[in-house]
Amino acid sequence: MSYLSVTDILVSNEKVPCKFLHDLPKLGFLDPSCTDDDLKAGTSVEIPIWLAESLSSRRPPLVTVDLPKVYKETYREIFSADACTVDLHKLAQYFYELGCYVAKYDIKGEVSTTLVNTFRQRFKMILSASVATDSINALQPLSECERDHTAAAMTTEKALSSWLKRGESLLTTATMVANHRKRKRAEMEML
């Protein structure tokens, strides 16, 4: 994943449960329930995955990373029963992306299988959401990346149906120009 990717940065800000293996003097604030200055070895805290990764990859590791609950067995069973019934937006909006990060802490490799199968099963939800008349409801249960795929497919769909209907494509105002105009108008109205 690219160093400069804003999406990846936002994904890696998601928190995962970790257990600290060593004392961390002066970093008590990492645990919201801790009133001490220091963080004691053995404390379990939820920290962003970017930090968890960097701490667990030290030699010796400073933390052990636990799987967030949606990747644990109970949820994996729900996904394998019928992945399409799950509201991923509510449950884990970066389900696949975060899953890719935490899969390495699952030595049996079951998280990976769940991710792959879930994406495959739910692809039909993307397909139907992209042509749905009630797109708000169809989009609701989709995760962030599923929504991005759907939005892109909707754009294609729209372009195609307007091509089928229209004779000629009109030249139009450039996107940024139009959006800044719109924003300016909105600002003026607020005053």
Binding site: K104, F123, C145
Partner: protein, 196 residues
């Protein structure tokens, strides 16, 4: 690409017109056309046919395939077959849309023809959605798509390739890391192909 770009590519096809004026040969960069003889059929690129039609300088001769019985057969065949059948040509939809749009009075039974072509298109589009789902379920790494036209292929972009990319990314990043930790792999998805 957007549909207008595919249309642009399709507009290079040769179409047949009957001009209502006479002129010498014209030497274009894409080739020489003419001479133009009023009342005599001749070939020009589709974009030029449409341009002349808009200037009321010609009639457009409907291509052979644009004929009701023929189209009914294509439609039946398309309905019957599980796979995509072969269309009259790579840009049938572009040609149909341009000719029926600019010169419907030159085409016998234009409105019926329009309806049948739209039916064929719709059958193929719904087949396409079913095939995409099947492709993703069965492996999602390779597919064969004979007889799909460029406009149809374009209609599944970016969804199909980007979903396949996403799937590959999930497999690679989630697998790479766990197999590094443990040497055995529970991976059982094959990269089997799917015929569209």
């Amino acid at each position: 690409m957007d549909p207008y770009e595919i249309e642009f590519i399709g507009e290079n096809r040769i179409a047949s017109i009957i001009p209502n004026f006479s002129y010498d040969k014209i030497y274009l960069i894409c080739g020489e056309f003419g001479p133009f003889r009023a009342g005599l059929p001749m070939n020009v690129p589709l974009w030029l046919a449409v341009m002349l039609k808009q200037k009321q300088k010609c009639r457009i001769v409907p291509p052979d395939w644009m004929e009701i019985d023929n189209l009914e057969n294509i439609k039946e065949e398309e309905k019957r077959s599980r796979f995509f059948t072969k269309m009259p040509h790579e840009h049938y939809m572009v040609e149909a849309k341009l000719i029926l749009g600019a010169a419907s009075e030159d085409i016998p039974n234009a409105s019926e023809i329009k309806t049948i072509i739209k039916d064929i298109w719709d059958i193929r589009m719904s087949k396409l959605r079913t095939s995409m789902d099947a492709l993703m379920k069965s492996g999602g790494s390779y597919g064969r798509l004979d007889h799909l036209t460029m406009m149809e292929i374009n209609s599944v972009k970016p969804l199909l390739p980007s979903a396949m990319n996403e799937l590959l990314k999930i497999q690679m990043t989630s697998k790479k890391s766990s197999s590094a930790t443990l040497n055995s792999s529970t991976f059982s998805q094959s990269g089997t192909s799917q015929n569209l």
